[in-house]
């Protein structure tokens, strides 16, 4: 077990809890806006850690770049989707929780 593999595995295991936390937020938060908030941030941190971890572990630069591309694509997708959903929800008169 080389040092790279250790670092990679640790990153992967560090990333997984963020994804669980995102789901926890999805289930427990009270309205669309807070759920968006939980998912858009937490899940993507988790995914980023897993992608970088696996890339480091594989020891191949091409694979690492591909994994980072996957992460960036998911970041773009979730950021845009979160913005669009929140805007439309507001325009449709969905009131944020506690207001």
């Amino acid at each position: 077990m080389s040092a790279l593999e250790w670092i990679g595995s640790l990153l992967v295991f560090a990333g997984i809890p963020f994804i669980f936390l995102g789901t926890l937020g999805l289930l427990r938060f009270p309205d669309v806006y807070t759920r968006l908030h939980a998912l858009a941030k937490s899940d993507n941190v988790g995914l980023g850690l897993v992608c970088i971890g696996l890339g480091v572990q594989s020891g191949s630069v091409a694979l690492l770049l591909k994994l980072v591309l996957i992460w960036v694509l998911m970041l773009i997708a979730s950021a845009t989707a979160a913005g669009l959903i929140a805007r439309t929800a507001l325009a449709r008169g969905l009131r944020p929780w506690g207001t």
């Binding site: 773009i76 845009t80 805007r87 439309t88 325009a91």
Partner: protein, 314 residues
């Protein structure tokens, strides 16, 4: 370890059955459609588990992208209808009938499936793979050994597009209740990546999972995204001569390749010795382009309009 794999399979199967149930029985239509989209997502995981990466790739590209977009867009036509309290299901189809009937059918199907002979063409494919011009078995089957299937498949896609065009003009899309500046930016940012990934998948097809179908589907999904982002579709009734040509390009080239084999005294779709690789490359590019445009054409739900408002941004 085997236990973990078994638990994974069981959980996946349970989730798939639950989602299928939701997709057919959920009280509201949007719930059903989202269940079906997630069903497709988990199905892709099942394909991965069953060692079918080609199918997983196609399911991811077509199931997650094009089918989801089609269904969600169809909701805009159907969603405006007033709420009615009509029964969701046929009356008189009681559980007393469906439960025993379903169990009986299930038992018979399982029995039949157990007794099916296992297909065993793997060795034959491996034996003739070197002559096919590509290194990946699925691509070899699709574009060499069983190219007739692929020809007819593109024929079906073309037919579907023709039927949809024959239904009349495409309905004008709805204007979103809150246009966002992020949407056109998303289109501009992602479309080049769509094209890049499509080209990459096409190139991968000769030696790994990939090929014309996922590539075409990804390219077509990119087109749909551009349309949603407010771009005007370039297929115009008055001036879409070249686009009509590309729509039928895949069919035409495949047919030409097949007939060329016959004319030169060989079997239908038998390529001249040694040139199979280049033949397949040409076919893949033509089929990929056609599939991309056909999927885009399917999404339009009608013959493209000559003028008038199209995208959300207008």
């Amino acid at each position: 370890m085997a236990l973990v794999v078994l638990a994974f399979d069981l959980l996946l199967a349970a989730a798939l059955i639950w989602l299928a149930w939701q997709a057919t029985r959920a009280a509201d239509l949007f719930h059903a459609v989202v269940s079906f989209i997630v069903f497709g997502l988990l199905m892709a995981l099942a394909w991965v588990r069953l060692e079918a990466p080609d199918v997983a790739l196609a399911e991811a590209a077509i199931g997650a992208g094009a089918t989801g977009a089609l269904l969600l867009s169809a909701l805009d036509r159907l969603a405006r209808r007033p709420r009615r309290h009509a029964p969701l299901y046929e009356p008189g189809t009681a559980w007393g009938f469906w439960l025993p009937a379903g169990s009986a059918l299930l038992a018979m199907l399982t029995l039949a499936a157990w007794n099916l002979p296992a297909p065993g063409l793997g060795n034959e494919i491996l034996a003739s793979l070197s002559a096919s011009g590509v290194e990946h078995a699925v691509t070899a089957v699709l574009l060499n050994f069983r190219a007739l299937d692929t020809l007819l498949e593109i024929g079906v896609l073309l037919l579907a597009a023709v039927v949809i065009w024959a239904l009349g003009q495409a309905p004008p899309p709805l204007v979103p209740s809150m246009p966002s500046p992020a949407l056109p930016a998303l289109g501009r940012l992602l479309f080049p990546i769509f094209v890049l990934v499509a080209a990459y998948l096409l190139w991968r097809g000769s030696h790994g999972p990939g090929g014309a179908f996922p590539a075409g589907a990804v390219f077509g999904a990119g087109g749909i995204l551009m349309l949603l982002a407010g771009a005007r579709p370039w297929i115009r009734s008055s001036e879409h001569g070249p686009w009509r040509l590309i729509l039928s390009l895949g069919m035409a080239v495949l047919l030409a390749a097949g007939v060329a084999g016959t004319l030169s005294g060989q079997d239908f779709f038998q390529y001249p010795k040694g040139t199979a690789a280049s033949f397949i490359l040409v076919l893949e590019v033509a089929a990929g382009l056609s599939i991309a445009l056909l999927i885009f054409a399917l999404y339009l739900r009608g013959k493209p309009r000559e003028h008038g408002s199209w995208g959300a941004a207008e």
